[in-house]
Amino acid sequence: MGIKIRKKLVFFVLLLIGAILFLAGYLGYEAPPFENINKAREQISIAESLKAQEYAPAPYAEALMIYDSAMREWKRQNNRFFVSRNYSLVKTLVEKSEMLACSAIDQTAINKKAGKDNLEVKIRNIKKRIGQFEQTYKHYPVSKNDLKKLIKARLFLEEAVMALKNNRHGSSGRLIRQSDSLIVLLNKQYTNLLKEYFKLFTFWSGHVKETIKYSEKNETYAIIIDKFAHNCYLYENGRLVETLSVELGQNWPGDKKIAGDKTTPEGAYKIIGRKSGEATKYYKALLINYPNEQDIALFKKNQKNGTISKKAKIGSLIEIHGHGGKGVDWTDGCIALTDTDMDVLYRKCMVGTPVTIVGSIKPLEEILKN
């Protein structure tokens, strides 16, 4: 009987100890940082919705990584016996994750704005460069292929604007780069062509000075045609009195080599004939002495050295005439003015008036700078 009582007593004592331990463990049990974890999750979600992965990748990725670590640590602690669980590391990690997510949100706002501003600036700059190219080469015969490139550059830029409107900054940036590379390529290509063409600038400049000097010395009118600017300058006694727009042959850059090359000749000429009424189909015309001696000599030299065909003929009947103002270069090598402007020239310029035709009166540097 005594043994039975003792056994019962031992059983109850053990049960009591167990109950006390359980109660102590339960009361001393540390709850996991549920609220902190939720806060971190919320902040990460906000950051993701703002596309922090794109605009603040470093803090966002770190916040995500630390959050995952916190979840793993939480699982690890949960696998332990409940009285020995310790969530302090979980709490530290989620607090850090939340802080980083907040930082990612702030950085996203800043970078998004800066990124958008940056793309807008780039778009504006490329638009400006396309505009500058179009302005610089508005009269220059740009090839079909290059014209397509220019149109493509404009279309890429339009697409970039659309992508930016849709907050697709990455795509917008890519399209901007595509547009930029096309316009850079075109600029480089045509600047090189102009550099080659403008190698004759000193020669042109000399002709221009001589013509103005002649006008001043002989108290007469003189015409200077600037092919690049598509302008006709009328000088009276060495002073510029008129600036008129002209249209030229389709292939105006360079000197005229053969008949039918649709190039307007370059050199020092003079008016040798005046036509009006039924004498011309272009309202009024001033015939110049093309080809002059130098042109004929050059033509023969080119034929001799094989630069031009033996069968080729030298051009003639180069005139300054009316029916211009079409906005394109359409003549076979003549210089066309509007009928109103032609009236001005026709009234003032008589046979013998010097006509100097040059590539440009301005140096290339000045043109490109403008």
């Binding site: 979600s45 919705s49 979840m71 969530y87 279309l155 659309m162 849709n166 079409k326 270069d329």
Partner: protein, 202 residues
Amino acid sequence: MKRKPFIGLTFALTAALFLTGCDKVPQVEIDAANAAIDEVKMAEAEVYAYDSFVMLNDSMSKAMILIENEKSEFFKNFDQAKEHLLGVVQFAQEVKQKTGENKERLKMEIQTAIGETTSLIESCNQLMTEAPKGKEGTMALTAIKNEIMAVDVSVNEANALLMGGQLLPAKEKISAAMEKANSIKAELTDVITKYQSKSKRK
């Protein structure tokens, strides 16, 4: 004899205690939610219903927190987590549907824009035939013809993007092409008017 019911009662209580404290993690529901999210990803919700996709991901994270929190409890009860996971599955279906709708809407918009731009190109080509045939007019129109051709290329590219399922780039491309086609039409009308008025003056 008196001890047996007492031991039995203690055993039963302990078993009940353990049974209530050991509710199972809702793995089936977790797997179902993950599968639903995978389907949403496959539907490209990340591209075409981004905000909803982020919300869905967040909802899943919340479910995992609820589960882990229950695992921390001595008396586990995953009912709330299960309910939440069912909600995730349902939401995933909604997001998938929304994604599909958004894609369809976008496709329709692109197709309409392609149709409109093609019509614009056709009317530009028609205007080209009405333009004066003089060499100067032809030159001006050749430049415009090149622009029309470039727009036509853009329409084809947009079509290819549409076929390839790249809807957003396709939309941007066709929008730019349509804008350009509109400006060409206006420019062409101007050129024709200019030449026509000049012809009248002659």
